[in-house]
């Protein structure tokens, strides 16, 4: 009954179409109270006090326009049923919550805690999370919440008793639930893969039955994130052929809590690109029975869209259905895992809009993995690292601030491989290849992509990184994107006497893409080659004034010679300096 029709969208008169949408939408979401967050799997042992089950909670929110009574409420997971009762004692550090309130005001949230929660707080001398001020605290009349929530437990909130269900208030389950008996068998909510330490929260419930997914960021007990100043807005894009259209039709449903009157509020759709903001569409939104409907077209452009209704603003993400060509590229890869560093792939958003990586895929024709199953916005000009193990990678690179660990990892070949990046519609966004034969030397470290706008399978566009840089710009882009060879040394003189000043000779080498290095060597004044750089990489090389055997090179003039290969032959570059101790 909640199907959302978008067919023949182009031919319908806007007013008629809006009316149909409105009529359909008011049949969608019908619950006044919904379960807005479930925390089933806190970190630590399930039986630990001060962790585990004692930190579990269920959050409910009253989205209706009337006060909701909390009397005679029960929860069941299909196996065990518990009555909800007021929390009687004030919990340390949650003094601003409500303890003896047996009703929920419109827009207000209640939190059903495990009975051992207060003991756990005392045990830890600190609460495991902060609870929003004004939240009504409840608990169950049993030893554990839901007899300890399993990671796939569904929950039904109902009114009645432990033997009879008089009215189902809300449910968090894999499908619709119709209960007479509160314990008919296990009720599951398993459509989201479990992640320890993460809670699940509903999404898109205004359009259809309630679905749950893992929360993007931290827990937010007592606060329903979707509720924004008494408004909830959710939107859907019509499934049309975006390859042949210039715009994406979008429908917005809006729920106004605590307001059953037919209000009209202004709305505005803006496009943002860098510092430029343009108004795409605007008008007046009319509410009826708490709900309002909007229809507009989003031009398929490399911009971000923001919807403002009344005084509330939302980011409209269209990257789940459309993203600019080559919007995200694979910019650096680390296929050769070590004991301290797992494999990783760096992505870069080179478009001017944020892109949601939810349901994007990485892999090749034989095996692909989902990067992330929840919303993850990669901002314009930002990097994110997809890795087999975020914990190890963060320990290796302390400054790394954006990393994703997929549930399943696509193992990279150490010598040659092809990696594809696909958007949720399985459209190929980027493809890269690498082969160790392309490089004179690639003993370890990452491979950096030099140009993002050209094929990722061009051997000239990859370079062993001088400094592995996950989540940061590639050094190779700076020293390879030059018009002609750049070769320099300094300081002159350089003084390797360990006084902290000019102790190293810095050799800088930047080459155009068609150039490669044949040799790079240092000669003393008597013409003897005193140091040959074996692991030749472009960028910056530092020499400490010693031969390979550790013997210091004698004071005096020194020479640094680079032999280069380019399409027309070879060339030599020579620089001179002075070594002084």
């Amino acid at each position: 009954m909640n199907q959302f029709f978008c067919f023949q969208i182009q031919s319908l008169n806007y007013r008629v179409y809006s009316l149909i949408i409105f009529l359909l939408s008011i049949t969608g979401y019908t619950q006044n109270v919904i379960i807005t967050e479930i925390y089933r799997d806190p970190p630590g042992s399930e039986t630990a006090l001060g962790g585990g089950a004692s930190h579990e909670f269920i959050e409910i929110t009253n989205l209706g326009c009337d006060t909701f009574s909390l009397k005679n409420l029960l929860i069941t997971d299909g196996v065990d049923t518990d009555s909800l009762i007021m929390w009687d004692n004030v919990i340390f550090s949650h003094q601003e919550c409500f303890y003896s309130q047996d009703f929920l005001l419109p827009g207000q949230t209640a939190l059903i805690l495990d009975p051992d929660y207060s003991k756990a707080v005392q045990e830890n001398h600190a609460p495991p999370f902060s609870i929003e001020k004004g939240t009504v605290l409840l608990r169950v009349d049993d030893r554990d919440l839901g007899n300890g929530l399993a990671v796939d437990d569904g929950i039904v909130l109902y009114r009645g008793d432990k033997k009879n269900v008089l009215e189902i208030i809300a449910n968090a389950s894999d499908g619709p639930v119709y209960l007479d008996n509160p314990v008919p068998g296990k009720i599951s909510l398993s459509n989201s893969k479990n992640r320890e330490g993460f809670s699940v929260t509903p999404y898109m419930f205004l359009f259809d039955s309630v679905h749950f997914s893992y929360k993007i960021d931290t827990l937010s007990p007592g606060k329903f994130d979707e509720l924004n100043n008494g408004l909830i807005a959710q939107w859907k894009f019509c499934s049309v052929d975006i390859n042949n259209q210039q715009a994406l039709p979008c429908s917005v449903l809006c729920l106004r809590v605590n307001d059953n009157a037919g209000l009209s509020v202004p709305w505005c759709l803006e496009s943002v690109s860098g510092l430029e903001t343009h108004i795409v569409d605007k008008g007046i939104m009319r509410f009826g029975n708490q709900k309002g409907v909007l229809e507009f077209d989003l031009p398929l452009d490399n911009v971000d869209y923001y919807l403002t209704i009344d005084t509330n603003r939302w980011y409209i993400d269209i990257s789940s259905v459309w993203s600019p060509a080559a919007s995200i590229v694979i910019s650096e890869i680390f296929p050769k895992a070590t004991q301290n560093e797992p494999e990783w792939i760096e992505l870069f958003n080179q478009s001017s809009k944020s892109i949601n990586l939810k349901n994007w895929m990485l892999g090749n024709s034989e095996d692909t993995i989902e990067i992330i199953g929840r919303d993850f916005y990669l901002e314009s000009s930002q990097y994110v690292v997809i890795t087999k193990n975020t914990k190890s990678l963060n320990a290796r690179y302390l400054g790394l601030n954006s990393a994703i660990e997929p549930f399943v990892w696509h193992t990279l070949n150490n010598t040659s491989d092809t990696i594809m990046l696909l958007n949720p519609q399985s459209v190929l966004i980027d493809i890269i290849c690498y082969n160790k034969k392309w490089f004179n030397s690639w003993p370890s470290g990452s491979l950096e992509r030099i140009k993002f706008l050209e094929s990722g399978c061009d051997s000239l566009l990859w370079e062993p990184a001088l400094i592995t840089s996950p989540g940061m710009p590639n050094g190779a882009q700076f020293y390879r994107l030059v018009d002609k060879p750049f070769f320099d040394i300094g300081p002159v003189p350089f003084t390797p006497d360990n006084d902290g000043k000019d102790d190293y000779l810095q050799i800088s080498l930047k080459l155009p893409l068609s150039y490669s290095i044949v040799s790079l060597a240092i000669f003393s004044f008597n013409g003897r080659m005193v140091y040959e750089v074996n692991d030749i990489k472009q960028g910056v090389f530092l020499w400490n004034g010693k031969e390979r055997n550790g013997k210091p090179v004698i004071n005096g003039p020194i020479f640094v010679a680079a032999e280069l290969k380019y399409p027309k032959g070879t060339m030599k570059l020579l620089k001179k300096g002075v070594l002084w101790r």
Binding site: P493, A521, R528, I554, G556, L573, L574, K575, K576
Partner: protein, 280 residues
């Protein structure tokens, strides 16, 4: 006459002062043959910067000067070269021979070396010649920092003329006054060589240079000198580690003479040298 001829054709190869700390080849007359062949009665033996064991006593005294420009142009300091000027004289007293020379190296106005070379030699029983040399070096930067190093060396040379060839062994860069800085003193160098007397193909010499401190310590140089006419000749040499090829033109005219030489390093390029002498 026969004795004079013998003296004329005997070639010597022995202690070859580089007159510098780390020069790639000797300066002056010996540049073109990379020091493989030293004519005692030619300008090679008379050069003030080679030991006094080698001197032509037919001259009472003499003066010599030269200049060497090292290697080709580089990408930086393109208009500034590395060059060395050398100058000095010799004097033959009845009891002993003396040589004194000065050199100055300038490396693109950033670095300099100055050296003084003093040698005293004497013939012993007309069988061999011996000399003792003392060298002092002063190196520094031209950046007004006052950073200067001084080094002192002592050496000795022996010359053994035989009928057909000359043999020699020498030890160079035996430092007696160290700079005190690790890596600032030149490495000990051992040289051994042999070369033939003048024959129809000229004179041929082989020089082995050993620097124990180096990773590849042995250097081999093969040289040739050919007199086109009595007063004009050409010479050349090839050496490895590093590879160098030298060629030069020499001339003697009455009491004066000179040479012009080129040495090629496959990476660092061409070095050019020129020297003149006058003897009385």
């Amino acid at each position: 006459m026969e004795v004079a001829f013998f003296v004329l054709i005997v070639l010597t190869l022995a202690f070859q002062s580089m007159a510098a700390l780390g020069d790639p080849f000797p300066g002056g007359y010996s540049m073109g043959n990379l020091g493989t062949i030293v004519w005692k009665r030619g300008i090679a033996g008379q050069q003030p910067w080679v030991p006094a064991a080698y001197v032509d006593k037919r001259s009472k005294w003499g003066l010599s000067a030269g200049v060497v420009s090292f290697y080709g142009k580089t990408g930086n300091y393109r208009d500034r070269s590395i060059y060395r000027v050398i100058g000095g004289g010799w004097y033959c007293a009845s009891f002993m021979n003396f040589k004194l020379s000065f050199t100055q190296l300038d490396a693109f106005r950033v670095y300099y070396e100055q050296s003084v070379f003093v040698s005293a030699g004497k013939s012993v029983f007309s069988l061999f010649d011996i000399s003792i040399e003392v060298s002092a070096y002063r190196t520094g930067l031209r950046d007004n920092s006052g950073r200067v190093r001084t080094i002192g060396e002592i050496g000795s040379s022996f010359w053994f003329p035989l009928n057909l060839v000359s043999l020699a062994v020498s030890v160079d860069h035996y430092v007696i006054k160290k700079s005190g800085i690790n890596g600032a003193d030149p490495p000990l160098t051992i040289r051994a060589g042999i070369h033939t007397k003048l024959n129809r193909f000229g004179a041929q010499g082989v020089l082995i240079e050993i620097v124990p401190e180096y990773t590849t310590p042995i250097r081999l140089i093969i040289g040739e000198e050919y007199r086109i006419v009595r007063w004009l000749g050409i010479h050349g040499a090839v050496g490895n580690n590093p590879v160098m090829i030298g060629i030069g033109l020499v001339f003697d005219w009455k009491r004066s003479g000179g040479n012009s030489a080129l040495v090629n390093h496959p990476v660092l390029g061409w070095s050019r040298g020129f020297s003149l002498y006058y003897r009385k």
